[in-house]
């Protein structure tokens, strides 16, 4: 007489599904923040009456070596206006914010053409600064 072997029941473990979905969600949230400029070295200048800058798609940084970066990518001042214009597209007023992170010691020869380029591209300039602490 032949005995029929009982088929073992194999289920995909579904206990960790929630964890996996959560991790995937966070992974894509981090990826979406593609404006990584954490490698750029700069020290913000200090000022009073500061406000939260809010969300923007465009950040221009001038580092301590006076190099200009747009969203973390180095580029020349000549390319800046057109590239900012491309990023801003047809965004309405109020959504055309451009953050300027300029190193506190960089000179007018460098930051003024950058400000001009932002203005030319129709960007709404926001200087990123540190709060001044009264002595």
């Amino acid at each position: 007489m032949k005995m029929k072997r009982k088929q073992p029941k194999v289920d995909i473990p579904s206990v960790a599904m929630g964890d996996i979905a959560f991790n995937l969600l966070i992974f894509f949230v981090i990826l979406a923040q593609s404006q990584d400029d954490s490698h750029i070295q700069w020290t913000p200048a200090k000022a009073d009456n500061l406000k939260g800058s809010g969300y923007t798609r465009v950040t221009v940084t001038i580092d301590k070596d006076q190099k200009v970066y747009l969203n973390g990518q180095e580029l020349s001042e000549g390319q800046l206006a057109s590239r900012i214009e491309t990023y801003l597209g047809t965004a309405p007023a109020g959504q055309r914010k451009v953050l300027l992170k300029a190193h506190s010691e960089c000179t007018a020869a460098k930051f003024e053409p950058v400000i001009e380029a932002i203005s030319q591209a129709g960007g709404e300039l926001v200087h990123i600064l540190d709060k001044k602490i009264e002595q």
Binding site: D19, I30, D36, L50, A108, S119
Partner: protein, 142 residues
């Protein structure tokens, strides 16, 4: 007669999910660090255009910024006095066109000095306009 229970129950904290928890904590703090809000000052600048220098200077308040000096309409002032001086000059001017302040900086002016002065001008009610010198290349025939 009392009997002492001889068998102690050994209860372990479930350690299976520790790796997952640690990973989630790392990611959570990573996200928090990268979304730290920035603070700053917004500045409204008119779109750049080429204008006659003399006409502009006659009509508007002019602030000359040099590395070690600030001049308002040619008069030297201290950094701490800029706001009060600009406020006094703009008193009674309500139209935005009249409140335009032309800022002219030499190439060696550092950003921290520039932002300090322009912040004071804005706090005094002025509308900043930058005056940049146009660079021209002239070919000299030989």
């Amino acid at each position: 007669m009392k009997f002492r229970r001889s068998t102690k129950l050994l209860v372990d904290v479930p350690a299976v999910a520790s790796g997952d928890i640690a990973f989630n904590l790392i990611v959570f703090f990573l996200v928090c660090a990268s979304t730290q809000p920035d603070t700053g000052r917004s500045q409204i600048l008119p779109k750049s255009e080429q204008t006659q220098q003399q006409k502009e200077q006659d009509e508007h308040l002019t602030v000359d910024l040099k590395r070690n000096a600030i001049l308002i309409n040619g008069d030297p002032v201290k950094v701490s006095e800029v706001k009060a001086r600009v406020k006094a000059k703009l008193a009674g001017k309500s139209r935005p066109d009249d409140r335009v302040v032309i800022v002219k900086s030499t190439d060696d002016v550092p950003y921290h000095a520039w932002i300090e002065v322009t912040s004071q001008i804005e706090d005094a009610g002025g509308i900043i306009t930058l005056q940049l010198e146009e660079e021209r290349t002239v070919d000299v025939p030989q």
